[in-house]
Amino acid sequence: MSNAPKLARCEDVAPLLVFYTCDELTAEERGQIEAHLANCGECRQQLSEEDALHSAIDEMPQPADRLESSGVLLAQCRSELSESLDELSAPKVDEGWQPFGFVRQWMALRPGWSAAALLLVGAIVGTQAFQWLPFSTGASTGSPVNVLAASKISDDQLSKMEVSGVNFSRPGGTIQVQLQAEQPLTLTSGEDDADVRRVLTFVISNSDRFDAGVRLDCVEALRAAAMDPQARGALLAAARRDQNPAVRLKALDALRDVVANADVRDVLLETLQRDPNPGVRVEAVNLLVRSLESSDDAPEALPDVVGPDSSPDGVALPSLPAAGKDSEQRILRALDELRQHDSNRYVRLRSAAALRQIGLQNLQ
């Protein structure tokens, strides 16, 4: 190892002056440079320039001093970091196995292609798939199905509605029902048959919520639909339970054309026996007579249960047949019961007249 100084020449010393200023040299290097500087004015001048630059750099205000003098930025950074760590620390939601996950991801990234692919698949399925399905191979053998349009009013709306009016247009037979709900609505028969019927039956079935005038209108409006089981059921319920006799009467009248039906006869009999209003009972008598008139299975002879002198007005009554169908038997018995025991004289007379009418009919 030679003792001769390695850094004797200016070209060797000059590049190290930067590090001499920054105190980044070994003690040996520092000693050699200082030995050179003692004899070299040019390198001393260069060193003074390096020192000046170093001082200028040290004196320069740093951006951080100006931008973060208050500590607000540091607080913001800490807060944001804490939030990010919260998100990272939160337990991951276990999504589990997702069927067609790859396809779904692909579709989510390519909406245009996805739409085109779905349309294509839809077209292929629509045109081809039905050929392979068993029910499409031959002529349709199933019973026809009525497809009804979606209802305009929900059950909830129905329960909260008020009916402001039911209008009839006689020439066309059109019915308009005006509803006061959260959103006022007008239903017209023909366009909204199902909804009109629903509203009318709802009004009749909930007699305590709607006034008698509206109920009468609804019964009248349902008259044309008496053949429909739902409408007939509502009319029967009104005839049986409505607290207003005018409505009960109207409901019976609306059932005039369907009196041959067993359920109608049952209600008429019940009315006959239990309705407190004589006018309604008389109407029930009239309809029962009508039901027997229109029925093909009218009794051939009246049963012999009523004595010839038992009539209140002394009219001789035909004997009741010993045999007959149950319903007719029940009608005759009910009429006879009415004839003898009804509290109202007119009802008793009308019952006797009905029995006679039925008897004469059968005699003919």
């Binding site: 750099i57 951006p63 973060e68 930025l73 760590l85």
Partner: protein, 225 residues
């Protein structure tokens, strides 16, 4: 050590928002813990220990980021990105160097990425805030009056400001790596060896970067002499 472990576990389970005195006592005792213990605890999933580590170093990290990026929003991004990287990769730290060096390696890499991105797309970047230029601000009548106090000789002040403005301009022409080396040497006061460790390179390479950076600055100031 078991006592420390118990304390840290309690602090972690009670969380930062806990109001219990016991938890508070353990949280406040965290700053006194050895760095190695804190790192181990953080590696074991102790959030409080990790946050204590952040608090120990984040002031320097933010300062470095601000000096390099010269924009608070960029510095904030660097801060977030760097510490989240630290959090995610903490389990890889094997104590082969100091945590400080490892942390600075991540921070300087994030800064380099940001600076390179900025260089690649200067049109996307908002202008940097230059302290010298901002300090000048709007001048009024009194700024032009002669200063009689010798310490505040306006001529000298003006000359000093000119030098600083030129240094700032020259700094903008440095490469991202030169800029980081220069910053860490002059403003963070790190030794070249530590800078090399932080940048994942040799001391010789860092010396070269510093030498080139200084030469560029000197050439910018040449006309002033």
């Amino acid at each position: 050590m078991p006592l420390f472990r118990w304390g840290l576990a309690l602090a972690d389970s009670s969380g930062r928002t806990s109001g219990s005195n016991a938890a508070l006592a353990t949280v406040t005792s965290l700053p006194s813990l050895d760095e190695r213990v804190l790192v181990s605890e953080a590696q074991a999933g102790n959030r409080a220990a990790f946050e204590e580590l952040v608090r120990r170093f984040d002031r320097d990290v933010l300062r470095l980021a601000l000096n390099l990026m010269k924009r608070p929003e960029d510095a904030r991004d660097v801060y977030q990105e760097a510490f989240l990287k630290v959090y995610r990769n903490l389990h890889r730290f094997r104590f082969e160097c100091s945590f400080y060096t490892w942390l600075y390696r991540i921070v300087t890499n994030v800064c380099l990425d940001h600076l390179r991105r900025r260089q690649a797309r200067p049109e996307d970047q908002a202008p940097e805030i230059h302290p010298n230029r901002m300090e000048e601000g709007p001048r009024d009548f009194f700024d032009y009056q002669k200063e009689h106090r010798p310490a505040l000789d306006p001529e000298r002040t003006l000359f000093g400001k000119e030098i600083q403005a030129r240094i700032s301009r020259a700094m903008e022409r440095l490469s991202p790596r030169e800029r980081i080396v220069f910053e860490m040497k002059h403003y963070q006061g790190l030794k070249l060896r530590a800078i090399g460790d932080a940048l994942g390179t040799t001391e010789e390479t860092v010396k070269n970067s510093l030498f080139r950076a200084t030469r560029k600055l000197r050439s910018e100031l040449a006309g002033l002499r």
